[in-house]
Symmetry: C2
């Protein structure tokens, strides 16, 4: 590889240095995530993302494509903290997999920094079909798939989805609807109750 | 009670017959429910509800008050099919309460006529704080409270909320996100897996 000037790909518009390269791509992606989180799927536009990132809308399209594709990329980085969960869950004693899953999942949700972008994605998916399609594909392929392929039970994908449904439901009641006492109860109390449920779904035929 | 002309309350604007009485109130309420369901909380206005119902906006305010109060009333009728659930669940053999709860809950959700307004309420609650407050108050006081007060376990409200979180999570993954295989699996398969979980939450200390 030669050092010096970065080779410019054909078809890409000539731009000033601040708008090119991995740092511009990363900045657009972080801005897109923040915009989708703050405004929701409906009110976020490629033009608005470009303006907030200080770049031309054509550059957003160049790197990511359509609004749905920008959203899909933003979803992926929103779920990055969650992507390490399956490996931590499937490794270790199968007899405590339910508790590990609950702890890993809620650790991501109890931290506002990782909760906010996840919530934004889930809210978008519950109100827009395009966003639902992204979550459906992403969750199935990347998160649940990794857990399901390591399970030794009938219908492992179904079992993994039952676990996900319970934890997502708790997250929505606790952090969004803020239904008491679930919103204020100690997380350990939730884990104590829920871990045996997840354990049964993941290990009992 | 005298027959003939309906007495008109003080302060209520004089209107033609089609705009007064219980039928006008009912029509506004049904229209409000349909508008909130079709457009979501954000895009629904008192003015729009009035227009769709063919009445003056002042009449909507007269019967229901603010937009949030119209929404609260629309939520109540959306949940009417669900209001019979607690009585059916708490009556009968405590050893099968988990299965009864699952069957009653999903019977409401499997029917598109009763699912659609419920989904609209939940979507609104997940995206708007005012709508979340309505659901939080309503769900706690009317639905979960009726179940919790009949339970003989520690923290009955918490237990009832854990059940609700699981079933709502399944409903969202099955009917909104449409995550496979959960979206297509036979309802009996879901009930078989979930009933023992609900049974444990509701009866085991």
């Amino acid at each position: 590889m030669t050092t010096g000037a970065t080779p410019r790909r054909r078809g890409r518009p000539a731009r000033k240095d601040a708008e090119s390269g991995p740092s511009a791509r990363q900045k657009i992606l972080e801005t897109a995530r923040a915009e989708f989180a703050a405004r929701g799927y409906d009110k976020t536009s490629v033009r608005g993302i470009a303006k907030a990132a200080g770049v031309d809308p054509a550059l957003v399209h160049h790197y990511f494509g359509t609004k749905d594709e920008v959203f899909a990329s933003a979803v992926e980085i929103s779920f990055e903290p969650a992507l390490t969960v399956p490996a931590k869950v499937v490794a270790g004693d199968p007899g405590t997999i339910g508790e590990r899953l609950a702890r890993q999942f809620f650790a991501v949700w109890e931290n506002p920094a990782t909760r906010t972008p996840l919530l934004a994605v889930i809210r978008s998916a519950l109100t827009h079909d395009a966003a639902a399609a992204v979550l459906r594909t992403f969750v199935l392929r990347r998160l649940l798939g990794q857990v399901a392929e390591r399970l030794d039970v009938p219908d492992p994908e179904f079992r993994a989805e039952l676990c996900a449904s319970h934890m997502v439901g708790i997250a929505l009641l606790r952090y969004v609807i803020k239904a008491e006492p679930l919103a204020s109860v100690d997380m350990e109390q939730i884990i104590t109750m829920v871990a045996p449920t997840l354990q049964r779904y993941l290990t009992e035929a």
